[in-house]
């Protein structure tokens, strides 16, 4: 289990992580979500003892990473920025890591096979594609057969086949009872891989719960699609109940603020025929953006969803 307690990390003026508290439990895949610059990679570096927090504490199974006598057997990690010397071959990179723990060459060959790099293992890492680099990162993380896995955007740069591969692998590792913690900003991808989600924005915790909870929460406030031959009459009836109604096309309405049940009851009372009544799920991406919207730091300049804090400051 990974435990992050009230951790703060500043880089000069910049607060990258701000009083963050959460736990990552064994046996499930925990997703770590947040917009660019939210502090995901920083949090992971803090867990791994690479950066020192300005406040708070981080522990892995009750111990700090620095105190682990055999860290590669306890924690396997893959960092977002490739942490590999480009001049070395994949095999020698893994061998050098293995040797620090007295792990044998057979295990090095094993993990190379496992991630599918056998053909290029003796080639210089500098020539690797993004996906090959990710695979090498996964190999390094698995080298010590660790009980805890920490992966920063493992799906980044992988082709669809590779994404499926890593998803299956991570789920399997979790099922074996390991702690699996991975970051991403792709909500949809996460929903298919993770059981639990920790969402942060601007270094602060936004949400911490199961994926199911998250999906349910995302769906409330979503629209209901209604098809009726008496669409205009229905529209007036619903509008009278303070619902927001959009006409999508002739005879088709999208209703916000009422459940399917409520719409059905209103229609019955008004003697309006309904041909179709479908609750629409808010897309997870939408839900994610709603949740983190205010904390997004780096907007593309063309969007009009300006940072609310700067608006407030300007007003």
């Amino acid at each position: 289990m990974i435990s992050v307690e009230n951790v703060t990390k500043r880089y000069g003026e910049k607060v990258a992580v701000d009083g963050l508290t959460f736990q990552v439990k064994p046996g499930i895949v925990t997703g770590f979500l947040g917009p660019n610059g939210a502090g995901k990679s920083t949090t992971m570096r803090l867990i791994l003892g690479l950066d020192a927090p300005n406040g708070g504490s981080v522990s892995i199974d009750g111990r700090s990473y620095v105190d682990l006598p055999a860290p590669l057997h306890e924690v396997g990690a893959m960092l977002e920025a490739r942490a590999i010397h480009t001049g070395r071959s994949a095999y020698n990179h893994l061998l050098a890591l293995a040797q620090t723990h007295g792990i044998g060459r057979s295990r090095v060959d094993e993990v190379i096979d496992l991630v599918g790099l056998t053909d290029v293992a003796r080639k210089r890492v500098g020539g690797f594609s993004l996906g090959m680099g990710q695979r090498l990162g996964v190999a390094a993380a698995l080298l010590g057969d660790p009980r805890v896995l920490i992966l920063d955007e493992p799906a980044n740069g992988l082709d669809p086949e590779g994404i499926l591969w890593i998803r299956t692998l991570l789920k399997r590792l979790a099922k074996e009872g390991r702690t699996v913690f991975l970051s991403s900003h792709l909500m949809a991808e996460m929903a298919q891989t993770a059981d639990h989600l920790v969402v942060i924005g601007r270094g602060r915790l936004i949400a911490d719960g199961t994926v199911d909870e998250f999906v349910r929460r995302a769906s409330t406030g979503a629209a209901v699609r209604v098809v009726s031959p008496q669409a205009t009459a229905l529209r007036d009836a619903l509008a009278a109940k303070e619902a927001r109604v959009d006409s999508v096309e002739r005879g088709v309405l999208e209703v916000h603020g009422l459940s399917g049940q409520e719409i059905g009851e209103i229609a019955l009372a008004e003697k309006i025929v309904l041909a179709e009544l479908t609750p629409l799920q808010a897309s997870l991406e939408q839900a994610f953006m709603e949740l983190t919207g205010e904390t997004v730091e780096y907007h593309a300049s063309s969007t009009d969803t300006d940072d609310p804090t700067t608006l407030r400051a300007a007003a």
Binding site: N92, L95, L114, E161, G162
Partner: protein, 277 residues
Amino acid sequence: MSATTTAIEVPARATAQHGGVTQLRVIRSEWTKLWSLRSTRWTLLVAVIGMAGLGPLVAAIQMSRWSTMGPDDRLHFNAINTAVGGWHLAQLAIGVLGVLVLTGEYSTGQIRSSFMAVPKRLPVLWAKTGTFATVAFALMLISTFVGFFGASAILTQHHVQPALSHAPALRAVIGAALYLAVLGVFCTSLGALVRNTAGGIALFVCLLFVLPGVVAILPTSLQNSINPYLPLNAGTTLLAGRPEAHTLSPWGGFAVFCGYTAIALVAAAILMRRRDA
């Protein structure tokens, strides 16, 4: 890579004999790292060729001109300095490689992998400096001997060859290897302090080669009291074929250079523990 995407079997608990990180294991790892880089092999080759080849080359040039040399030149000719003269070239290769040993890891991000495997960090610094110094000493000792005997063979023509039985000669041969090994540690420490290849090499060049030039424009009396303590002058006292004015004693000078190296190494160790990787 496609054939293996279905292979998601996680091998049973690592075959590894579960043991932790030890200094010896970290040394083994650093040994692998050192030799698995092409840049290391090339740079060491340059150092070896320079160390073994320059002495005989200069000796050959001297001998071809011997008959036309004046008595003054002949008197000033120092067979030992010629025979071990390769250190002038070798020190540049060893110094640059020493800087690269750590800055190469910082610039590529490799240092994070290294520190994740060895979170106490200092064993990495000890292993890096230790293996590099040992490799530099062994290779440079052999190359110096080769250069020395090569030059002697050429110098026999005019019966001015240095004899190894002569105390300063043996001291110069061993001293060249010692100087270059300690220089390796010095530069590795500089690299650890600066964490940037260009900056590390610039610092190494400044301290060793620019500083003497700066001192040279000072008043002579000041020069004479500062010069012996400059890293380059102190470090190479063991290599002098004959005693010169305004220099430290052979072993005294070398001890001063070791002192500088110790200071740089300790500073590197303290900062390596403290700074974010």
